[in-house]
C-alpha cells in the first residue's frame, strides 16, 4: 500500500505547470484547498472540477497516475462516506433503523465529503508531481523567510524536508529487503490479531532504524565533505524569479477563487 502514495513523488514532464515558480504553485494550492472547503452548490463544484481537470490536462501528468494515489485513502474515504451517510439527521428520512438514519442531508454530505477528500488528494498530489522536492522546499524556504526573524530555522527545516523526500523510496526498498530477509528466517508478518502483528513488526523496525541512522551519519559526512555549513553564504543553482507566466498563474488562481466564492453567494444550491 505504501507504494501507492503518490504524494512526494515527482513526475518529470515538459509543461507550463512544471515550469511555474513553486511559490505560485504553493499559493494556488492553498487557495484551492480553501475553495474546496468553502464551496457550496453545484456551480461551485463545477468550477472546481473544470479548474482541476484543466490544470491536470495542461500539466501532462496522466490522470491514471494521479488516481493511483487515491488507493492509499480508500479506507478513510469509505469510513467518512459511511458515517456521513448513516449518522446525519435530516428533513426527509428514507430509511430508519435504531440509531441509523439515511436522510437527504446525509446523502449530500457523504457525496460532498468524498468529493472534497478525493479532490484534496488529487490537487495536492498534482502540486508535488509537477514540482521537484528541491523546488518545493526552495519555495517554502522563500515563502517562510519572514519566520527567520523569530528564530525559526527555515533553511534547516527545508533541507530536512528535501532529504526526507529523497530517502522515502530508498527506505521503502530497504524495508522490503529486510522483510524478505526476516521472512526467509521464518518471521511471520501476516497472521495473528492486530497486537500480534504489531509485535511481529519489531524484527523489521529495529534493523530499519539502525540502517536509517547509519545512512544519516554517512549523509551528514558526505554533506560536510561537500562544504555544507548551513544556509549562510549559500548561492542558488535555481534561484526563484517570477516571470510573465507566474503572474498570469497568480491571476488565474485568484480569479478561480473569486469565482468559487461568487458561486457560493449566487447559487448555494443544492446544499
Amino acid at each position: 500500500m505504501i507504494r501507492d502514495i503518490t504524494i512526494g513523488q515527482y513526475y518529470p514532464a515538459n509543461s507550463i505547470i512544471h515550469k511555474l515558480d513553486p511559490r505560485v504553485k504553493l499559493f494556488s494550492t492553498l487557495l484551492y484547498i480553501i475553495a474546496l472547503f468553502c464551496f457550496k452548490g453545484i456551480l461551485g463544484i463545477g468550477i472546481i472540477t473544470v479548474f482541476l481537470f484543466t490544470t491536470i490536462k495542461i500539466s501532462k501528468v496522466p490522470i491514471k497516475f494521479i488516481v493511483k494515489g487515491l488507493k492509499a485513502i480508500v479506507y478513510l474515504l469509505l469510513i467518512t462516506a459511511v458515517f456521513n451517510l448513516l449518522l446525519t439527521p435530516g428533513n426527509r428520512v428514507f430509511w430508519h433503523y435504531k440509531l441509523i438514519n439515511i436522510t437527504d442531508t446525509g446523502i449530500t454530505n457523504a457525496v460532498v465529503m468524498s468529493v472534497r477528500l478525493i479532490y484534496l488528494i488529487i490537487g495536492t498530489s498534482l502540486m508535488t508531481l509537477t514540482t521537484t522536492p528541491n523546488q518545493l522546499t526552495d519555495g517554502l524556504e522563500t515563502s517562510l523567510k519572514p519566520l527567520n526573524k523569530i528564530n525559526v530555522p527555515v533553511h534547516a527545516i527545508a533541507m530536512m524536508m528535501s532529504i526526507a523526500l529523497r530517502f522515502i523510496p530508498i527506505l521503502i526498498e530497504e524495508t522490503d529487503k529486510i522483510m524478505k530477509a526476516q521472512m526467509a528466517r521464518g518471521a511471520d508478518f501476516e497472521s495473528g490479531n492486530i497486537f500480534k502483528k504489531a509485535k511481529n513488526m519489531v524484527p523489521l523496525l529495529v534493523p530499519l532504524m539502525v540502517s536509517a541512522f547509519r545512512r544519516a551519519d554517512d549523509l551528514a559526512m558526505a554533506m560536510e565533505a561537500r562544504c555544507y555549513s548551513g544556509g549562510a553564504g549559500r548561492t542558488k543553482m535555481k534561484p526563484l524569479a517570477y516571470e510573465k507566466r507566474d503572474r498570469i498563474a497568480y491571476l488565474v488562481a485568484i480569479l478561480f477563487f473569486v469565482a468559487v466564492i461568487v458561486a457560493r453567494v449566487l447559487l448555494p444550491f443544492p446544499q
Binding site: 515527482y10 518529470p12 521537484t132 522536492p133 528541491n134 528535501s162 532529504i163 523526500l165 529523497r166 523510496p169 530508498i170 545512512r215 554517512d218 549523509l219 559526512m221 558526505a222 554533506m223 560536510e224 565533505a225 561537500r226 562544504c227 555544507y228 555549513s229 553564504g233 549559500r234 548561492t235 542558488k236 543553482m237 535555481k238 534561484p239
Partner: protein, 285 residues
C-alpha cells in the same frame, strides 16, 4: 612541494565505557608518511581495518590527527579556519552511492557543492554542465538518482565533487558496493579526470586490479604503510602481498606460478596481454 604531505601521522580511536573511562585505544593510523605530487594518480591498497579509510577522512578534515602533521594543498588540517578551504580543494567520493546523493534530480545534486561554496548562479550551471560531461552523465541530468544503476549513481557523486573544481579527489572505496561493470565505469572515470582535467587522484581500494594503472601504490596494514612503489614493483612481490591478505590478480598469480615452475617470465606481470607476449617469447625459443 607535494599537494598532500603526511608526516608521522597518527590517529587513535578512543573507546569509552559507560562511566566515560577509556577502555580501549585503537591506533588506526600509526606513523604514516605519504607524499603526493600534484597531477599524480595514487592508489592506497589495504585490507579491511588497515586504516586506509581513516587516512582518507583526514585528507578532507573530517577527522583530525592525534599526532603528526598533514598538509593538504599547503594548509595544515589541524587549523580550524583552513577546513573549508581544504574541503573545497580535496573532494571526496564515498563508498555508498545512495548515501551521498542529496537531491532528487541528478543536476540539482551536482549543483549542491557549488551552491555551498557560494558560486554565482550562472557559473554553477556552467560547472554542472562541464562536470556531467566529464563523467558522461549529461543525458541523465533530469533523471531521479533512484532510477540509476550503482555505477551511474557513483558517477553522479563524482560529478558532484568535480563541480567544486577541487585540485584533488579522494576516492574512498568507490567500487566496494558496485557490480563489475559499475566498477570499470568508475575507475575509467577517475583516470579520465586525472588525464584530461589534471586532477590529482587518490584511490583507496582493496581490489588490486584497480591499481594497475596508478602512478604509485601504497599498501597499508594495521595502520602502517608496509609497502610502496610503482604497481610493477609491488606486483612482483606476490608472496609479500599474500602475507598482507591482498588478492593478487589472477594474471599476476598465474605468471608467478609459471615463473616458479621454470618458464622465463619477467616479474610483475600486470595485464593479460603482457603474459601472452611473455608466453609467445617462450614458445618461440
Amino acid at each position: 612541494m607535494g599537494i598532500i604531505k603526511a608526516i608521522n601521522l597518527v590517529h587513535e580511536y578512543i573507546k569509552r565505557d559507560e562511566d566515560n573511562n577509556v577502555s580501549d585505544i585503537v591506533r588506526a593510523l600509526d606513523d604514516v608518511n605519504i607524499e603526493v605530487e600534484a597531477g599524480q594518480f595514487i592508489a592506497i591498497l589495504g585490507h579491511n581495518g588497515s586504516g586506509k579509510s581513516t587516512f582518507a577522512k583526514h585528507l578532507n578534515a573530517l577527522l583530525a590527527p592525534t599526532e603528526g602533521t598533514l598538509v593538504v594543498d599547503g594548509k595544515n588540517v589541524k587549523d580550524e579556519k583552513n577546513i573549508m578551504d581544504i574541503r573545497k580543494n580535496a573532494g571526496m567520493v564515498f563508498q555508498n552511492p545512495d548515501n551521498q546523493i542529496i537531491a532528487s534530480v541528478v543536476e540539482e545534486d551536482v549543483g549542491f557543492g557549488p551552491e555551498n561554496i557560494g558560486v554565482p548562479t550562472e557559473e554553477i550551471w556552467e560547472r554542472v554542465d562541464n562536470s556531467l560531461k566529464a563523467v558522461g552523465m549529461t543525458e541523465y541530468r533530469k533523471h531521479s538518482p533512484n532510477k540509476l544503476s550503482g555505477g551511474q549513481k557513483q558517477r553522479v557523486a563524482i560529478a558532484g565533487v568535480v563541480a567544486m573544481e577541487p585540485k584533488c579527489i579522494i576516492f574512498d572505496e568507490p567500487t566496494a558496493m558496485l557490480d563489475p561493470n559499475g566498477r570499470k565505469e568508475v575507475i575509467k572515470t577517475a583516470h579520465k579526470l586525472n588525464k584530461e582535467k589534471n586532477v590529482t587522484i587518490l584511490l583507496i581500494t582493496h581490489y588490486m586490479e584497480e591499481v594497475v594503472d596508478a602512478d604509485y601504490v601504497y599498501v597499508m596494514e594495521k595502520g602502517k604503510v608496509v609497502m610502496e612503489g610503482t604497481p610493477r614493483a609491488i606486483f612482483s612481490q606476490v608472496d609479500a602481498l599474500k602475507e598482507h591478505r591482498l588478492d593478487v590478480p589472477q594474471v599476476t598469480l598465474l605468471a608467478d606460478e609459471l615463473r616458479k615452475s621454470g618458464l622465463d617470465i619477467p616479474k610483475g606481470i600486470l595485464r593479460r596481454e603482457e603474459l601472452v607476449k611473455a608466453l609467445e617469447k617462450n614458445m618461440a625459443r
